[in-house]
């Protein structure tokens, strides 16, 4: 599958990118990350030459809330459970990362370096355990609720699959990454994308939260919030179309990239996955099997952003 990752679209590049693909036919779009503004997609539609069909995933989700109250209530329950899991994880993460930073601040010898590595390993273990648990909870939820057997959801899924089956490409805009990930799972977009014959798969163009929602590990981050630098946190899995990659939209604006010690911890936490900043103007064509191409700028283990060399 051909996946093109873009940086934030304050100065849009999606129009040029889509034109460069030489597509014929309608383009499916997902703007569910804009939530209640989902339908305000006139500007995006213009950029796509009005050859677009918005999948309306947020609207469909709202419809399910109305017409399938049993599912809606169960979803609220699981969201509460996931929020609690996230709180507990963050509490543990805070202590674990403080230990890493405290060790980093001390100068020392080989023993000291080993201690830092062990402390980072403990954080990695915590991240991995949290991701496993979140995915288990989501998996149990879908196993119990069986969305494919629920008429309202099944109907929407069929419509979404129908549009995607005809689409020349799929474009996923940014916004609220949690909402995006939820609706992509609920409407089974991954299955619809991979349901085509090999070689006939529609390319996917995504930016910011839309790009993050394609990965197998969504990491929330923000070093410049009202509360000051926060801990990057594993949120859950997206569609997992892309694996072993952590996408960082607006990295320059949102992260303390000059703090290489802090950035090194970030990169080491998520290695060997690539930590890829997505800035305005970024365009990365990722092959699902081969990963990021040479030249992709990534956050290295030394905390610096460097270009990826050819393997």
């Amino acid at each position: 599958m051909r996946v093109i990752l873009l940086g934030p679209q304050r100065r849009p590049t999606v129009d040029a990118v889509v034109r460069s693909l030489g597509l014929g036919g309608s383009i499916a779009t997902i703007t569910a990350g804009w939530r209640e503004r989902e339908a305000d997609d006139g500007e995006l539609s213009g950029l796509l030459g009005r050859h677009d069909t918005n999948l309306g995933l947020y609207r469909r989700w709202l419809d399910i809330q109305d017409r399938d109250p049993g599912y809606a209530a169960a979803e609220r329950r699981v969201q509460g459970e996931l929020a609690e899991l996230q709180d507990i994880y963050l509490l543990r993460l805070d202590h674990a990362l403080r230990a890493v930073y405290a060790l980093q601040r001390r100068s020392g010898d080989q023993l000291h370096a080993e201690a830092i590595a062990a402390a980072v390993a403990a954080v990695r273990e915590l991240d991995a355990a949290h991701l496993r648990r979140v995915n288990e909870v989501r998996g149990e939820f879908f196993a119990e609720l069986r969305p494919h057997d629920r008429p309202v959801i099944a109907g929407h899924r069929a419509e979404v699959a129908g549009i995607l089956g005809e689409a020349a490409a799929l474009v996923i805009a940014g916004g609220h990454v949690g909402v995006l990930a939820d609706v992509l799972h609920l409407f089974n977009v991954a299955a619809a994308l991979s349901g085509r014959a090999p070689g006939a798969e529609a390319p996917v163009v995504a930016w910011s939260a839309g790009a993050m929602a394609l990965t197998d590990r969504i990491v929330l981050f923000g070093d410049r919030s009202a509360q000051g630098p926060g801990h990057a946190e594993v949120y859950g899995s997206g569609l997992s179309v892309l694996r072993e990659v952590v996408l960082l939209p607006h990295a320059r604006a949102r992260m303390l990239l000059d703090d290489t010690a802090r950035m090194a911890v970030f990169a080491q936490r998520f290695g060997p996955g690539r930590c890829v900043p997505l800035e305005g103007g970024t365009r990365i064509e990722v092959d699902r099997d081969r990963g990021c191409p040479p030249g992709t700028r990534v956050l290295g283990g030394d905390g610096r952003v460097t270009a990826l060399e050819a393997a």
Binding site: D66, A209, F221, A226
Partner: protein, 399 residues
């Protein structure tokens, strides 16, 4: 504090390397009254030069004093008259980021008059009236405290809650965030109950702050209930009736009528000064109800030994309560945000409460500011507090 005499140059602190403006004027020979007029026309008053702030008074007087409430400094600082003029001055060292409210006391013919600084248009307002305010180097009014045309405005709705506990009809002003969805089956809002609600709205720009912080995704979309005290010193000083009113009367009614979260993590109590005592005491009496407290410059007066707390009769019930709490701390909420100005007499009390709250097992965020016991200090700390107790969804948004 430094005097202005002795040809002082700004040698303390790296930010000032030249002679202070007042000292350059003083060195002029001959020094004529008209020079003072020209001097004042050239400078904003107080004159801020690095960490030095020169306070001035222009006029006939026998004595002039700077009246302030900076804990640790004499509260009456005499101004000196510049020879040959009717210009009075005193230089105060104020560290970067300081914000100081003050007045001048002018003595003429044995009469003392306390006035705002006629040379300084900046005023701070409070229920006690107005006072002049000095912005030291590095202090800037936070932009999120000022109306932002981009921010969607929430609405204020007045209601009255008849209270059997307090034996009065209690006015409440509800803040409903922009795009409040009363009938939305999905959205559940956290609730913030604000003591001295009218003063927070009037003197701490609480509505503007909520509008802006929500718009900027710094805090969650929140419903706030601004409550008004009756007999404040009685109701806010560890009153069982007040706690019962909030918890057994106001809260159930709001949660029945509005789409609120209805869980401890979605409920917070907030207050400043005596209002902070009321918030803590209410949570103490109902420890499983409120998840967060936002306590600003709490009047947490206590004694370690003996009974001399210096607060006077209104503080008696407060001291009994705080002493009891300090002797056996227990969790009353999950998270406690505490802020205090370092120029307040209460700074030591508040600092002393932080380890007590921590020892009780609560998550504590403590913030100090170079400010006093004032509504603007409390306003300026609201982003720190509100974004911590009810964090906004900023971390989820990548546009």
């Amino acid at each position: 504090m430094t005097g202005g005499g002795g040809g002082v140059t700004g040698v303390r602190g790296p930010a000032v390397r030249h002679k202070l403006a007042i000292n350059r004027l003083r060195d002029r020979r001959p020094l004529e009254p008209a020079m003072a007029d020209r001097f004042l026309a050239r400078h904003e008053v107080p004159i801020v030069e690095g960490d030095r702030c020169t306070f001035l008074y222009h006029g006939e007087a026998d004595e002039v004093f700077l009246i302030h409430r900076i804990f640790g400094l004499p509260d009456h600082l005499p101004l000196r008259r510049l020879r040959g003029t009717d210009l009075w001055y005193v230089v105060l060292e104020l560290p970067a980021g300081s914000r100081v409210e003050y007045q001048l006391e002018v003595v003429r013919g044995g009469e003392r008059e306390r006035v705002n600084d006629p040379l300084n248009p900046r005023l701070a307002h409070s229920p006690m009236g107005s006072s002049s305010v000095c912005y030291a180097r590095g202090y800037a009014v936070p932009d999120w405290t000022q109306p932002d045309p981009e921010a969607r405005a929430g609405s204020l709705v007045d209601m009255v809650v008849p209270s059997r506990a307090l034996r009065r009809d209690c006015p409440v002003t509800l803040y409903l965030p922009a795009r409040f969805r009363r009938a939305d089956p999905i959205t559940r809002y956290p609730l913030l109950i604000v003591h001295d609600g009218g003063d927070y709205l009037r003197y701490a720009a609480a509505k503007t702050v909520l509008d802006n912080l929500i718009h900027r995704l710094d805090m969650a979309e929140t419903v706030a209930a601004f409550v008004y005290p009756g007999d404040r010193l009685a109701e806010y000083a560890n009153s069982a009736a007040h706690a019962r009113y909030l918890t057994a009367e106001l809260l159930p009614r709001l949660e029945a009528e509005l789409p609120l979260a209805g869980t401890p993590s979605g409920r917070a109590l907030m207050g400043s000064s005596f209002g902070a005592v009321a918030a803590l005491a209410t949570a103490y009496r109902h420890p499983d109800v409120y998840g967060s407290l936002l306590l600003q410059s709490g009047s947490f007066v206590f004694t370690d030994i003996g009974h001399d707390h210096g607060g006077g009769p209104p503080f008696e019930p407060v001291v009994r309560f705080v002493n009891r709490y300090r002797s056996a701390p227990r969790p009353v909420a999950d998270r406690v945000f505490v802020s205090c100005g370092v120029y307040e007499p209460l700074i030591v009390r508040n600092r002393s409460m932080v380890p007590v709250f921590e020892a009780a097992g609560m998550a504590v965020r403590y913030v100090e500011a170079r400010d006093g016991h004032s509504w603007v200090n409390w306003r300026d700390r609201l982003r720190d507090g509100l974004s911590w107790i009810f964090p906004g969804p900023q971390k989820y948004f990548y546009e």
